[in-house]
Symmetry: D2
Subunit: 259 residues, 4 copies
């Protein structure tokens, strides 16, 4: 909207704050997505192949936690830098059409739409499970799945619908393609949302204090707000850290010394 | 009972089978214990300190999964070899009395009794959570906790009781000290119990087929049964493996060649 | 220099490129630092406590690899957001003075100076090892160590100097506080430097092609250069990835649809 | 030899001691094998595919460390239980002929012979690296490789021989198929060999003290020896552990109470 010149008021981009996306998106989504899948299906993740579509902060969190629970993890991406990062992090990286017949569980976390499509569903194994934790319910193309299925999907467990495919296989959709951590679990734990809410509250305070001074554009959360939130969070965890010495501050701001 | 000469019939020790304890105890208990804790408390494990009492197969599984979800993990043990193994696996190892003030969540998986006692409860942080996944409800000494608490514990969430300590702190007991994966989750996933049940069924068949031939002692599950179960499990996962060549079989059974 | 108005020509900040710091700093420094320590000392990392000073990209890499080799890892930081990230990643976080008596190996990767100082050396265990992989040889305060030591340090292995402290303990300095991966190993592997060099070459080409058009300021590496390098790297690894569909491109650039 | 009735004196099987194989084979071989590969080739392990042939204690150690350094790891096995364990630990498991075209580095740790054979070499990628850390130089079938190669292999780096295959590809053999940690690195670190040597020394003392009392068979290392070694090792690491209480000892030896 800023780019199109139709943004009419200042916006502070809390979702881009480090105290938001580093923590809420990665650690929160990571755990709660896996939690949603396990609550809905009671599946053992050890030994299974998980396909994570998207390697942004949320995807990183989900891939990391899936590995931490013993799964083999395949990452799919459209961004070459993120794809490379996933490969260097030890994950298998390939197009989704190649991953489709290998996966036991598929999770979309891209923020885009139409990620898992007809050509993927028809290649999946009997019993494959599909869910979304990325944005809203447009990442898994359910109409395309329904078009390949016979009859109406049956809810075989709470939040789990079984689609009987024309090719004879069964595909299980968790939480109807909505955010699986909200649909089948309790969403993010309070101990990570506290930071997001604190950042939102303080960013709002910042807007009010700077009323009339901020342009009608997207602004970053001020560094002071981020540090304030992080320091209080550390204190609540009983963690203290080092402080820069006077000579270190001088060293960091200078450019006279160097390699 | 065998040692005391009071065992009156043959016993096949299915719990000691590799297809049981390697998989059910480690991977099953690992995931389902964490699952029980998260369902009961919705706590974020990343950044928290978990204390795992006992580093047998179950303890290994719980410690591994807790780390996989981002926790710092402390292991307590009485067996020096297991303690050393935990240390070499990268975990902190210390007596429980030292770990008591550091832990956010305590999990007993020892198979013994009276693990978390009065002297530990009084040193714990405000808000510490305590549960058991090891044997049955004798690992966490709840009477000792009650003796240090004021009033009756309140159930503040399903399966979570709050004890208000005389020292002003609150301790939360999950699942009343019973197996937390059964109390607060669904127990082990079917995909690991299948192996345990198959081993039990085949061990029973083995007993019947060998009726009258087995002494009144504790017998191991025959290797053939274990291999049979493992091969079928691999097949169900779509995994094939190598076979020994003729010359390899010869090499392995010989002792003429050597380093 | 830009801030002080003394930068007289355009600069492209290759070190801030994602294809540089994501990969070279993290994966390159991570492995080669550990490699330098092992080559110099032949120490088993499993079961040992490593203290990593600094949790930037290099510090993240070193901490991750140290954990991957079985060490308990303590992170020290001055930045609260990074400290929090380290804690959420499962590392112990504390001031260096608290970590000093716990560490077996200390590694500085801060880019600052005077990190390990007199007050830290005197608290270290007998046999503690100290090295730097961060910037250049000002992170470990060797003059301060020498002032606490008796006599001249002896080179007890190649690249390892033993300081005999007045308190009777011995401290081992690897690579004289210079970059340990260069001093005691072979620096970064070619398979990560290829990306850094490609980015440098293409950034230089960009400067030449845009001669006269770039202001005397610090410029970011163009996104096209980064994508080009990443795509070629993926191809060299035999990895192919998905492409955005037409409707996905449209979805991503729009703001009409939303949660 | 015991089985063939040709063992003429008592043998104490130190290699089967927990204080030996848990630690030396797993943690020692794990680190030193990787160390040998990196010293010989300076290859970055992050993002590469390692194929570990064998999932015994040594193979477990190598696979764990390779993953810890960012590699994708494929395990090959002939034993279904070990294969299943590898799969549940999150590794890819497949026959070696399937893994041959996928691997960047191959490591044999089986204790058997003729593991990597002609049919595997011809399927490998250009630039594949092959080494052994398992037994002695019979695991990698070098004569078969030579038969597929043209000319004499050239030593392109210390301990690295390049075989130019008739199919146009190059295969690199590290350490001539001998134990790579001895050929190209320093063998196991002292901090793990100390335990193996202590166990050997104490097992020898045990033999002498029991002269004439031990049958001409293979005996296990006495539990007391193992505990003694483990306790001293823990003490040297500054680690103390819990002791069983009187009531716990009673509980453990009883069978009256139960689930």
């Amino acid at each position: 909207m800023e780019r199109d010149g139709v943004l009419k008021f200042p916006v502070v981009s809390v979702n881009d704050a480090q105290t938001k996306h580093f923590f809420d998106n990665r650690y929160g989504t990571g755990q709660s997505t896996i939690d949603g899948i396990i609550r809905a299906t009671n599946v053992l993740l050890a030994g299974r192949t998980l396909v994570v579509c998207g390697y942004g902060w949320c995807g990183k969190g989900v891939a990391l936690r899936a590995r931490g629970l013993g799964s083999r993890v395949i990452v799919t991406e459209v961004d070459p830098i993120r794809a490379l990062e996933a490969a260097m992090d030890g994950f298998m990286v390939m197009p989704l059409s190649d991953a489709a017949p290998m996966g036991d569980v598929f999770i979309t976390v891209t923020g885009n739409s139409g990620i898992i499509r007809r050509e993927h569903f028809v290649r999946m194994k009997d019993g494959a499970m599909v869910c979304n934790s990325g944005h809203f319910d447009v990442e898994v193309d359910l109409p395309a799945l329904q078009a390949e299925a016979e009859g109406t999907p049956a809810e075989v467990r709470n939040h789990v619908h079984e689609y009987r495919m024309k090719n004879g296989r069964r595909i299980y959709v968790i939480g109807e393609g909505r955010l699986v951590n909200l649909a089948a679990a309790e969403g993010h734990p309070p101990s990570v949302m506290d930071m997001s809410f604190a950042t939102q509250a303080l960013a709002t305070e910042y807007c009010i204090k700077n009323r009339g001074k901020l342009s009608a554009a997207v602004h970053a959360v001020p560094r002071e707000v981020e540090d304030f939130v992080a320091r209080h969070k550390l204190a609540s965890m009983g963690i203290t850290i080092d402080e820069l010495t006077v000579s270190q501050k001088k060293y960091m701001s200078g450019w006279e010394q160097g390699t």
